[in-house]
Symmetry: C2
Subunit: 247 residues, 2 copies
């Protein structure tokens, strides 16, 4: 019997070259595929994720799926079995049997990313692996005003990676919300999809607004320019979390 | 002029072989001494800490001091200057000029350690570097009852490392308190001093109480036995934080 297995996966991206298999770096995909090969006693398997997180980016609930012909292995083996083999920085949170037409990337309707910044004068070795340290206060009100221009359907070419390979650069953003807790700044963004490095390029630009180097209205002009060179630098990867994928 | 400089230091112990200089492993002491040599343009310096945290153990406020003859370097250079040289997993939180008779270890009156456990069924790659994962619930009430036997002046030989080098094994414990937040368990312990691996050996034993393998009263017998072999295994280092040193 052909089975389609959906996994929900958390990972600390610090020590990985990103989700996707690549030469010379350990990827999350390869690590999980190697684990599955051991459990299933097979030579090859492909695990597809909802998207390819970059090197250093984390996931609280990445979704991935794979097709197997094995009828005997129980679903729980993909949680307990894989977790016993995988390194501590990857954790399989759940496994589900899904319809054969489910595809973790193509079936995704909506994604939630969170970016974390902290603004202490001195960096913290405990927050540092999971946030971008900026040693000055940020004007969050202006950052929120700027973020509001991102809501809705837009061409996000200005915020795409230079080597962007997506067919179109238009996306719909449903939510772009800042919140704070003590010295931490959280940016929650939800959309029907994101271009390569899009969230980090948006954050890099919004931080320029927060440091009063750009005005909130500049974000509107940058969006309309469809020109990557007008936006800010790419924010570092360790502040970015893939929080949830909706189907 | 001879100056005595006191540093307050936070570090993520994950990638270090502990505080103390040792062959074949990068130590926090050596990393900070190397940084100071660059800043002060000198060939050698000794930085003494309040105690030697083990490999993998963290510190939120370790205290260390060193003597210099340099009269010109401003105190702030030991925060800004060192932080710009040190790796991200060490952070100098503050620097102070102190009396020449201040010694970070000998002058310490009291130390506060915290040990963190989390009891989710599935491990979390984000909590894992900073806590001990136990995939079953713990009987915290019994663990607290057991911990109460540690309060006061006792011979802690049962909880000392086998290669303990301290002159005496008696210490006074002022506080030994459990608290919880969702699936996290915090154990705060304060004493006038701690033997090598003492907190981790205590936690390893209290977890056996929490798993109902030992009774709270067993802790009293273990203490009185003054025999390491009666206590539990050493808890893993990544759950332990040196929180504060009092002078």
């Amino acid at each position: 019997m052909t089975r389609n297995i959906k996994l929900t996966i958390a990972y600390n991206g610090t020590n990985f070259g990103g989700w996707q298999i690549q030469p010379n770096k350990i990827s999350i995909q390869e690590t999980i595929q190697d684990g599955l090969k051991k459990i299933l006693k097979i030579d090859s398997i492909i695990v597809n994720a909802s998207g390819r997180t970059d090197a250093g980016v984390h996931a609280e609930e990445q979704v991935a799926n794979f097709i197997i012909e094995n009828n005997s292995i129980p679903l729980e083996a993909f949680v307990k079995g894989l977790n016993s083999i995988l390194p501590n920085d990857i954790s399989i949170k759940s496994s589900e049997e899904v319809d054969l037409d489910f595809h973790s990337r193509k079936s995704a309707k909506r994604k939630w990313y969170q970016y974390i910044i902290y603004t202490d004068i001195v960096r913290s070795p405990f927050i540092d692996p999971f946030a971008w340290h900026i040693n000055r206060p940020l004007n969050i009100d202006n950052m929120q005003k700027a973020a509001n221009y991102l809501l809705g359907f837009h061409d996000f070419a200005s915020f795409a990676a230079s080597k962007n390979s997506s067919k179109t650069t238009t996306r719909t953003i449903f939510k772009a919300q800042f919140s704070t807790l003590e010295n931490r700044v959280f940016f929650d963004i939800e959309g029907n999809g994101f271009l390569m490095k899009m969230v980090r390029n948006i954050i890099g630009t919004l931080v320029e607004v927060g440091l009063n180097r750009k005005s909130p209205e500049d974000i509107k002009s940058i969006l309309e320019s469809r020109n990557r060179s007008y936006a800010g630098a790419t924010a570092p990867p360790q502040g970015l979390f893939l929080k949830k994928v909706y189907y």
